[in-house]
């Protein structure tokens, strides 16, 4: 197959998948929709992964489509990550009452995934912008999907506005880059942005605004809590993981390829952003009473942690970022899935509604335990390894103060994660009627959650293959 | 047999523990079996020690029947036991008194199993001190002996009476007594422990033979750990002295004794007075004098002063008692004073003939007092069991009612008093003979004390046996019963020995003399 084809092999398959979905959907009977849609999407997405692994694995780093996209490890690994997240999310969609039989939901999911895949491989400014929009617009719609729910509409709308604003800023930055460098190819820009130069810094900052929005970095995070809270929970899960990872992919490429010589500057800039993200994310999370908002602020904090690896700007640092995103994706998907199921049964997302959850459904409680402990960075879960690697990279590059901030923040994190677990395990429901109020979940949900939970443990214990994956992704970037 | 010959000391030492284990697995309600097993076991231990006596060669200096096993290498302490004339005497005393005390305890009905087990553990503890040839082993057994005695007093002691602690807390007398006993002894032990640790740090070895040699051969003008050797030696000397002085007990550290002796059960008092007090004196002889000859000589005057005070005040105090048991308790203070006097006198001029005579007297007094004190306490117990009072005023003219008991009481009292022909005289004479040339003034005062010894003993006898008959005990339900066979059997060996040593002291004295001459 030609290089160009291989480079967009996953995207092509996804496109076919999506179109087929749209075409076949009207022919399915209403009651079968949920099952068909769900398994079709999930199965299809898993199939895409497998087929891509077999046919379209890159061996080196090559440019395709005239320099628009890159066919390399970074792109490939991230694509697989997104598709995997989408697959799990479609399984979780099957459990969400108002999404499960709407073909549009699954389609939007797939569409957004296509966008993300392109984001990960884009090496041209225009391509990058297109990819970002392709990702974002379906997500705006998905966030506001529940038309009769005020919160959801508000979420969608807010996301749209914020996204538009930052998109514009980003575009402005891109245009400035083009203006200064005369090219839209990332590869070619490397030399233009040399050492400290207020203009370069300004341009960089504008780009960071755009990407920072996607990653939900402070101070571009304001949309996150409201959107996560308002959007359908499984959508929030997907947003917090895949979308964020996509942002990171873009950031890595930009910084490593277009701005390598300004490393000293963007390292400090990112370090500051990471610090305020971690700190603000954790501190505000402490005050939350709604679990979705808590998880939102928690993801803001985690974005900060992951960023620390990038600040380190060394091999271990880049590897640790990728590893972090893998572990984090599994963890957050699991966490949001549980919240989704629980919200569906009880109709509440308040923290105190979770009192006695472990007695209502011991295995769900256990999954929550695993997910939250991974979030707080405890072994034997992926979150622990991820945090250690990120901090190790920072130490290697001498960022002791940053690591110190990270440590303090981790401890704050431990506090509120354990508090949630306390509600789940220690506290009882009113009247202690847990046994009469179990949490029923569907089979696909169980499958998805099991994969995610087992994944968290596997990533935390047998980490050589995943680290290898990270190395594969970051090969040749520095 | 060969095993026995090579392991005789450890056999004697641990046989009581073995007996205790057997007692442990007996059912709690088989009281008779428990009693007789305990008695039998302790009797066998006594037989072993007689065997030891017969195979002991008094002419050899140093330890015999030595055994040494790896024990605690990290601190260079081995399980090293050995016997010489001094410790042999004490071992015989211990293994003799224990079965008698157990026999005396046949009247105990409450938790007999625990009582007997504690008693047997106590025996091992005491034997261990006498047999130890390693300082750590000495200390281990010294401390181990405390615990059973604490519980014996606490649990089986006199249930009546109340004492007040600080802050108005009231506890029963026996609690008070056992606590005081424990606290006093442990306070002394603390100093001892620190001193032993210091020795360990300096020499990395706890073997008594080794230590005696090295410690005494240290250059007196040198420094140890930054302080002058002389100062260190003095501090360590006093640490040892205080620990042992508390045990003997030396006036003014004696105040635990009257309470402990009085509140303890009869057999407990027998062992307490009979053996435990000797542990302190033994410590002086085995450790203080050999390790600190200069300091002993230097402070001998102080020791003799305290000893004399013990003799005199002990006698006065005994005279003033109305409680029979307390009288006997103070008599222990009085008699042990002689032991200490002999040791102190000997310390002033170690190695001379006078010193050796004084030491002979001291050791023999240890043995004799063991016998007579045990006997006296037992006899008090006998009358108490029948009358449930120890108040001398409650008795009176009992001799016609219980003539056999009366006879035995008089006999034992005379031995305690030091009547020539009985053992007490021999030892007291030797002490006085040996001490007089060395410390004439103190000895003179002590002899005056002897006068009062006679006074209180005679008072005791008079109050109990002579005078107008107290009708209360003559008729009805309070009618006094005569001393029974078991009780006579308890007293018989003691009396026999008292007589034997009184008439023919050489048997025992020869061994002691040779040991003292060899040691000093």
């Amino acid at each position: 197959m030609s290089l160009n084809l291989l480079a967009i092999f996953p995207e092509l398959l996804l496109l076919i998948l999506g179109v087929l979905l749209l075409v076949i959907d009207p022919f399915w009977k209403k009651e079968d929709r949920r099952v068909n849609l769900g398994w079709y999407s999930a199965g299809g997405l898993f199939a895409v992964i497998i087929l891509s692994l077999i046919f379209a694995r890159p061996t080196g780093s090559e440019s395709a489509f005239g320099g628009m996209i890159r066919y390399d490890g970074l792109a490939f690994v991230f694509k697989m990550l997104f598709i995997f997240a989408a697959a799990l999310t479609s399984l979780f969609f099957m459990d969400a009452e108002r999404l499960q039989n709407r073909a549009e939901a699954y389609l939007l999911l797939i569409a957004s995934t296509i966008g993300m895949s392109l984001m990960a491989s884009a090496t041209d400014l225009v391509m990058l912008y297109l990819a970002i929009e392709t990702t974002s617009i379906p997500m705006y719609v998905l966030s506001g999907f529940l038309l009769d729910d005020d919160r959801s509409t508000e979420a969608g709308f807010k996301y749209l506005l914020f996204g538009a604003l930052t998109s514009a800023t980003f575009l402005y930055g891109l245009s400035l880059i083009y203006g200064f460098s005369g090219t839209t190819q990332l590869e070619a820009m490397g030399g233009f942005f040399g050492t400290f130069n207020p203009v370069s810094l300004g341009v960089l900052f504008l780009l960071v605004v755009g990407v920072g929005f996607k990653i939900s970095l402070v101070p571009f995070h304001f949309w996150a809590p409201d959107v996560y809270q308002g959007a359908p929970t499984s959508v929030a899960g997907f947003l917090s993981t895949a979308s964020k990872a996509a942002g990171f992919a873009v950031l890595i490429r930009l910084l490593m390829i277009a701005f390598p010589q300004m490393a000293v500057d963007w390292q400090m800039l990112l370090a500051i952003l990471a610090t305020i993200s971690m700190t603000l994310g954790n501190l505000v999370a402490l005050a939350q009473t709604n679990i979705k908002r808590l998880l939102a602020y928690s993801s803001i904090a985690h974005a900060g942690y992951a960023l620390v690896g990038l600040v380190a700007n060394n091999e271990l640092g880049l590897n640790s970022v990728v590893y972090y995103l893998i572990a984090y994706m599994l963890t957050n998907l699991a966490a949001f899935a549980i919240v989704a199921a629980f919200g569906r049964v009880t109709g509440s997302d308040e923290l105190r509604a979770y009192d006695g959850m472990s007695r209502r459904s011991p295995y769900l409680g256990l999954a929550m335990l695993i997910a939250f402990l991974s979030l707080s960075g405890m072994p034997p879960f992926g979150g622990f390894i991820a945090k250690v690697l990120v901090f190790a990279a920072a130490i290697q590059d001498g960022w002791y103060w940053l690591v110190f901030v990270g440590i303090i923040n981790s401890i704050i994190g431990v506090y509120y994660y354990l508090t949630v677990l306390k509600y789940v395990y220690l506290y009882r429901m009113e009247g202690e009627v847990e046994k009469q109020n179990p949490i029923q979940v569907s089979r696909p949900f169980v499958l998805g959650l099991s994969i995610a939970t087992l994944g968290i443990i596997v990533v935390g214990v047998i980490f050589s293959p995943w680290f290898g994956l990270a190395e594969f992704a970051t090969k040749g970037l520095l | 047999m060969d095993f026995l010959n090579t392991h005789l000391l450890t056999t004697i030492l641990f046989f009581p523990v073995l007996t205790a284990m057997i007692v442990w697995i007996l059912p709690s309600d088989q009281v008779k079996a428990i009693r007789w097993t305990a008695f039998g076991g302790s009797l066998i231990a006594f037989i072993f020690s007689v065997y030891l006596w017969m195979n002991f060669d008094p002419n050899l200096a140093g330890y015999q029947f030595e055994e040494q096993y790896i024990w605690y290498e990290a601190i260079h302490s081995t399980f090293h036991v050995g016997i010489d004339g001094l410790s042999l005497t004490m071992v015989i005393l211990t293994t003799l008194l224990t079965p008698l005390a157990i026999l005396a305890s046949f009247g105990i009905v409450d938790r007999v199993k625990a009582y007997m087990m504690l008693f047997l553990f106590l025996e091992t503890g005491m034997l261990g001190v006498f047999l130890a040839a390693d300082l750590i082993i000495f200390f281990v057994f010294w401390e181990i002996g405390l615990v059973p005695m604490y519980f014996l007093i606490n649990q089986w002691g006199n249930p009546k009476g109340e004492r007040e602690l600080w802050g108005g807390i009231k506890i029963s007398s026996r609690n008070y007594a056992s606590l005081k006993f424990m606290v006093y002894t442990m306070a002394g032990s603390l100093g001892l422990l620190l001193a032993i640790q210091l020795l360990g740090v300096l020499f990395r070895n706890y073997d008594l033979v080794y230590l005696t040699q090295r410690w005494t051969s240290l250059d007196p003008n040198g420094t140890l750990m930054g302080v002058s050797t002389a100062t260190v030696k003095t501090i360590v000397f006093w640490a040892f002295v205080i620990a042992f002085a508390l045990k003997v007990p030396v006036w003014p550290f004696h105040t635990w004794l009257p309470d402990a002796h009085t509140e303890a059960p009869t057999a407990g008092s027998m062992i307490l007075a009979g053996v435990l007090l000797k542990l302190g004196a033994y410590g002086f002889l085995r450790l203080v004098l050999p390790l600190f000859p200069e300091q002993s000589a230097q402070y001998a005057g102080w020791m003799a002063f305290l000893a004399t005070m013990a003799i005199v005040f002990g006698a006065f105090a005994a005279y003033g008692q109305t409680d029979f048991k307390k009288l006997v308790a103070y008599s222990s203070v009085n008699h042990m004073g002689f032991v200490l006097l002999g040791i102190a006198a000997a310390a002033t001029k170690i190695g001379t003939e006078d010193a050796t005579i004084a030491l002979n007297g001291a050791v023999l007094q240890m043995f004799n007092h063991g016998l007579s004190a045990a006997g006296m306490f037992f006899l008090v117990g006998v009358i108490y069991e029948r009358t449930h009072t120890r108040n001398l005023e409650d008795f009176g003219g009992l001799f016609p009612l219980v003539p056999v008991y009366g006879g035995i009481l008089i006999f034992t009292s005379m031995a305690s008093l030091g009547l020539p022909g009985l053992n007490g005289f021999v030892s007291e004479f030797l002490v006085v003979r040996g001490s007089f040339p060395l410390l004439p003034i103190y000895t003179s005062i002590a002899i005056i004390g002897l006068f009062f010894t006679g006074a209180y003993i005679l008072k005791g006898i008079r109050k109990v046996l002579h005078g107008p008959l107290n009708e209360h005990w003559a008729h009805g339900e309070h009618k006094l019963t005569e001393i029974n066979l078991r009780e006579i059997i308890v007293m018989a060996p003691l009396m026999a020995l008292m007589l034997y040593i009184g008439i023919w002291p050489t048997g025992l004295l020869d061994v002691i003399n040779k040991a003292m001459s060899a040691l000093f």
Binding site: P379, F391 | A74, M186, Q197
Partner: protein, 495 residues
């Protein structure tokens, strides 16, 4: 490769935890049986390992297993035991076994209880046998978070949430500081020797500069010593002890605190010897405060469990004290004390738990005369008290004596001051014994105190046997500990 005994010991509890979690919640008795079987199995294995090391004590590590884990970063699964860790492995086995016996009566979700407890046990075993720094931290954290769940869910209602959170945050903080230090060592070793490795045996030979060691010794040592209860970071310990359910307290004081001290030795002293020598005086000073202050505070407590909690602070101070002397005697004594105190405090908490379960109060003034109904508890508690006082013939004396010898070599005055604690210890523990077990039985207890079960008796007897055995026959443990200590001295002397 020889049979991987150590790995089996470490993973058996973890596997058992997973199995139990998959069992039905209602199958409570089956769950208990699974737990007990695993505990017995692990005890036998650890005893076997102990026996093997006892027969052949050496300075090297034995039962070594090494498998690559993440070669790119030099992380390997590297385990082994030496003379110091073998007794601790045995200790964990003993406490696990007795802990299961004591917890037999837990009726509220025993499945989760035993699962979390075994997770804890697995983590603890793992730390003791780790020879790879990363692996050590991995297991160390695994040993920390189950404590939160165990205390907050099954603990004493009044303070459990507060105590659990405080404990977890404190320990996590400490471990993270130590982790940073470990990472610093990892990267500096790379700079010095060009090899990326977390292997502790390699890092031992790294040749860090004295300056580096001076700086990093503090976070590493104190980071771990926090778990060992060193002043001034001991504050989590008494509350944690009191709030935890009985078996968890046994684990906490009996084993977990040893984890901290042990890791402080393994990582702090053995990998940063120059730092150890530089800062020994500081550790010594803090440890002295632990020993004396801990004893005084224990004296004034009214709650039985607080007495024992502060007693643990005091006795663990002796461990730190022994380590800080950097002498053969001191470190030997400290290692023995870890074992002796572990058994003793497990016994204390077991006994206290038995009293509390029946009397429903732990306030000393409200208790009394328990010997009448609970003679076994009384007698074993008394034996524990004797161990606590350092009475010869028991393990406490065997452990404390060399520590004091070590202290003498550093400062005779300090030895005398520290010995005050022995007196205070005797005072408070005898007071507890007298008031709780002897004296008058308060009326409302008459007839309400049920006797203890056969399982409880087995647990108590097991613990007593070890205390007496070590006390009367120190040669059963001392030679292997000495070899381990020789290894430590080699590092200290050579560096």
């Amino acid at each position: 490769m020889q049979f991987p005994v150590i790995s089996i010991i470490v993973f058996a509890p973890l596997v058992a935890a997973i199995i139990m979690l998959l069992m039905k919640e209602e199958a409570k008795n089956e769950i208990r049986v699974v737990a007990l079987t695993t505990a017995v199995f692990d005890l036998i294995l650890s005893a076997w390992v102990y026996f093997q090391v006892y027969m052949n004590p050496t300075m090297e590590y034995q039962f070594v297993e090494k498998v690559d884990w993440l070669p790119a970063l030099g992380i390997s699964y590297h385990v082994g035991v030496d003379g110091i860790s073998t007794p601790l492995v045995l200790l964990t086995g003993i406490v696990m076994f007795t802990g299961v016996l004591i917890s037999w009566g837990i009726d509220d979700r025993p499945r989760e209880f035993f699962a979390f407890m075994f997770l804890l046990a697995g983590g603890v075993f793992g730390v003791f046998v780790s020879l790879d720094l990363f692996l050590l931290f991995f297991f160390y954290e695994i040993a920390v978070f189950p404590m939160y769940l165990l205390i907050s869910i099954w603990g004493w209602k009044v303070t459990r949430e507060y105590a659990a959170m405080k404990l977890t945050l404190y320990l996590f903080l400490g471990s993270v500081f130590a982790l940073v230090g470990a990472l610093a060592m990892y990267f500096t070793n790379y700079q010095l020797n060009g090899v990326l490795t977390f292997d502790m045996l390699e890092i031992e030979k790294a040749g860090f500069s004295a300056q580096f060691q001076y700086i990093w010794f503090l976070p590493v040592f104190f980071g771990f010593a926090i778990l060992g209860g060193i002043f001034p970071f001991h504050n989590w310990s008494p509350d944690g002890h009191v709030a935890a359910p009985t078996a968890v307290s046994m684990f906490h004081a009996g084993v977990l605190m040893k984890l901290g001290a042990f890791a402080a030795l393994r990582v702090g002293i053995m990998l940063l010897p120059e730092g150890a020598k530089q800062w020994a005086w500081l550790v010594f000073g803090f440890a002295m405060v632990n020993v004396v202050y801990g004893a005084f505070i224990a004296f004034i407590q009214k709650d039985m469990k607080y007495v024992i909690g502060f007693s643990s602070v005091s006795h663990m101070g002796l461990v730190a004290l022994g380590f800080s002397t950097l002498t053969a005697d001191g470190i030997t004594g400290a290692s023995l004390q870890m074992f002796s105190h572990g058994i003793m405090t497990a016994l204390f908490f077991a006994a206290t738990g038995m009293v509390y379960d029946r009397a429903h109060t732990r306030q000393i003034p409200e208790l009394g005369g328990m010997v009448k109904y609970l003679p076994w508890v009384a007698i074993t508690f008394i034996i524990g008290a004797l161990v606590s006082m350092g009475m010869p013939g028991f393990s406490g004396f065997v452990a404390e004596f060399p520590i004091f010898m070590g202290v003498w070599q550093v400062s005779p005055i300090a030895a005398i001051i520290a010995s005050i604690s022995i007196v205070i210890t005797a005072a408070y523990i005898l007071l507890v014994v007298r008031k709780v077990f002897y004296g008058e039985v308060p009326e409302h207890f008459e007839g309400h105190i049920t006797p203890i079960s056969i399982l409880d008796k087995i647990a108590l007897a097991t613990l007593v046997i070890f205390m007496v055995a070590l006390g009367t026959m120190p040669f059963l443990m001392v030679p292997m500990v000495q070899e381990g200590v020789n290894n430590v001295l080699r590092i200290l002397g050579g560096a």
